[in-house]
Amino acid sequence: MGEKVLMKGNEAIAEAAIRAGCRYFFGYPITPQSELPAYLARKFPEVGGTFLQAESEVAASNMIYGAAGAGARVLTSSSSPGISLKAEGISYIAGAELPAVIINIMRGGPGLGSIQPSQADYFQATKGMAHGDFSLTVLAPSTVQEAVDLTMEAFEIADRYRNPVLLVGDGIIGQMMEPVEFKEAIDPDELPKKEWATDGAKGREPNVINSLALEPEDLEDHNMKLKAKYDKMKEEEVRYEELYTDDADIIIVAYGTTARISSRAIEMARKEGYKVGMIRPITLFPFPTDIINETADRVDDFLAVEMSTGQMVEDVRLAVNGKKPVHFYGRTGGVVPSPEEIVNKIKEIGGEK
């Protein structure tokens, strides 16, 4: 561990990628993630990295498809409209079972939307990224330090499962400055060789990177193989944080920025006698379904707080499975909920004290 440095979220993620041994970045400019590519464009020359500003997000996602197939640790970052375009490459990357890391610093939508913070890409991230039967591992940090740690881990998870990993933040996480500490840097030359990669068939049979299977039975087998990976992720990669879950009557479920705001609201509400706790998903896929379901046996109510009109709340409902009421509070379009608004919602659920 090094010493603490004060850094903006976007730049800290970029530095974390370098420390994770990533030396290839392909992207296209978009607010509010611009500091991330700018940082890499500045720093990559020092470590022999390749920074390429692509002609579009479609091209960028296919460049990472190529680079990942060639065996590299590779990163791309964007914000909502750009991720929609990257969906093509991401589907191929998942289909061809390649590791890659994608950052989405989410902004308001649909369409051009706004450049303000948002969590309205939850469905896209966890369910409907692109065509086909696949899932990404989706990580959702709520502090700059966590963004750093999860970025480094994202590359490990991607390599472990040969699956793309998506890290979602928003303009607040991206722009906010916080003190961070970095783990020791990984030397990309020390990483295990990827035997399946395209690097020239010297003294071996050719390697083929591909997502096509013309026979339905073959594709079904492939889909089942992918599903087995996602099932394994559900067993092994679920991450979440609990706050006051032992005595709570009401459990807030919130991730990223809204989890930060919710924890402030929880302190305020507790002072007024409301026993509120929180389960904060750190992985959005796989979703912390079991802990939510178990907690439902002890508490009275759940409240999902999001910067959307209600997306993650559907997964909370599935997890609670009818055991207890699931409420929702959301602001959207780039509007950030205040702690007071959340406290009001808690009072509405909890009744007068």
Binding site: F26, N62, Y65, T198, A201, G203, S211
Partner: protein, 248 residues
């Protein structure tokens, strides 16, 4: 050097699936021969398109990457940036390169990406059943231009190769055909030159190869050769469009 008549090492022994009279197979074969003659089979990474030649990854006996439709130059860029010392080529049809992948080919060429592109122009979408391509000729009947391509509605046949010559990063752009042995010989020479340009680090090179699609042109193989000679070559004249000094 390989013996000319032998079966190229750079091809697998899988049977081509191409229709009778389709020239995709000839183009595969000469690409493979050039790879062998340059002795780069074990250094090569090929990028296959989406189109009739989607299964090129089964035919070339080299590392292969199957791209999404039109994005082969972007995929190749990613590969080449990771392995600058390896030889990277794309093999693309005209729907792939001249329609959906226009942006990717233009910018790869403009960056002077050290990749080589084999651009197979058969003036139609073969794989999807004979729809109009941007390269279809004026008046050409296809399933989506059943009364013939009307240039007022559908635009004129796009001459991608001529367009690409305007980019400083593209150093060698040429158009060839494989409809007879003499032209096959010339085509092979052009492909070899394009590959050497990459190996010598000179810039982006593209060889456009006029190709037949008897199935979707609705012709016998022999008629399709005549149609290529009499119609395609007028819109797409053969020859070097841009060539660097000092490369044979």
């Amino acid at each position: 050097m390989k013996e000319v008549a032998g079966y190229p090492d750079a091809l697998t022994d899988k049977q081509f699936h191409y229709c009778p009279g389709c020239t995709h197979g000839i183009i595969h074969r000469i690409v493979a021969e050039v790879i062998d003659e340059l002795d780069i089979r074990e250094e090569t990474i090929g990028v296959a398109p989406v189109g009739c030649s989607v299964l090129a990854y089964e035919y070339f006996n080299v590392d292969m990457h199957e791209a999404s439709h039109g994005r082969a130059p972007a995929v190749a860029t990613g590969i080449k940036r990771v392995h600058p010392d390896k030889f990277v080529f794309t093999y693309q049809g005209d729907g792939d390169l001249a329609s959906i992948g226009t942006a990717e080919i233009v910018h790869a060429a403009n960056r002077g990406e050290l990749i080589s592109t084999i651009f197979v122009n058969n003036a139609i979408y073969g794989m999807t059943g004979g729809q109009m391509a941007p390269t279809s000729l004026e008046g050409q009947k296809t399933t989506t231009s059943p009364f013939g391509r009307d240039v007022r509605e559908a635009g004129h046949p796009i001459r991608m190769s001529e367009m690409l010559t305007q980019l400083d990063g593209a150093v060698y752009i040429t158009r060839v055909s494989v409809h007879d042995p003499q032209h096959i010989k010339q085509a092979k020479k052009a492909i070899k030159k394009a590959f050497k340009i990459q190996l010598e680090g000179k810039g982006f090179a593209l060889v456009e190869v006029l190709s037949t699609c008897p199935t979707n042109w609705g012709m016998k193989p022999s008629d399709s050769i005549e149609w290529l000679k009499n119609n395609m070559m007028e819109t797409y004249p053969l020859g070097d469009l841009k060539t660097p000094e000092g490369v044979e």
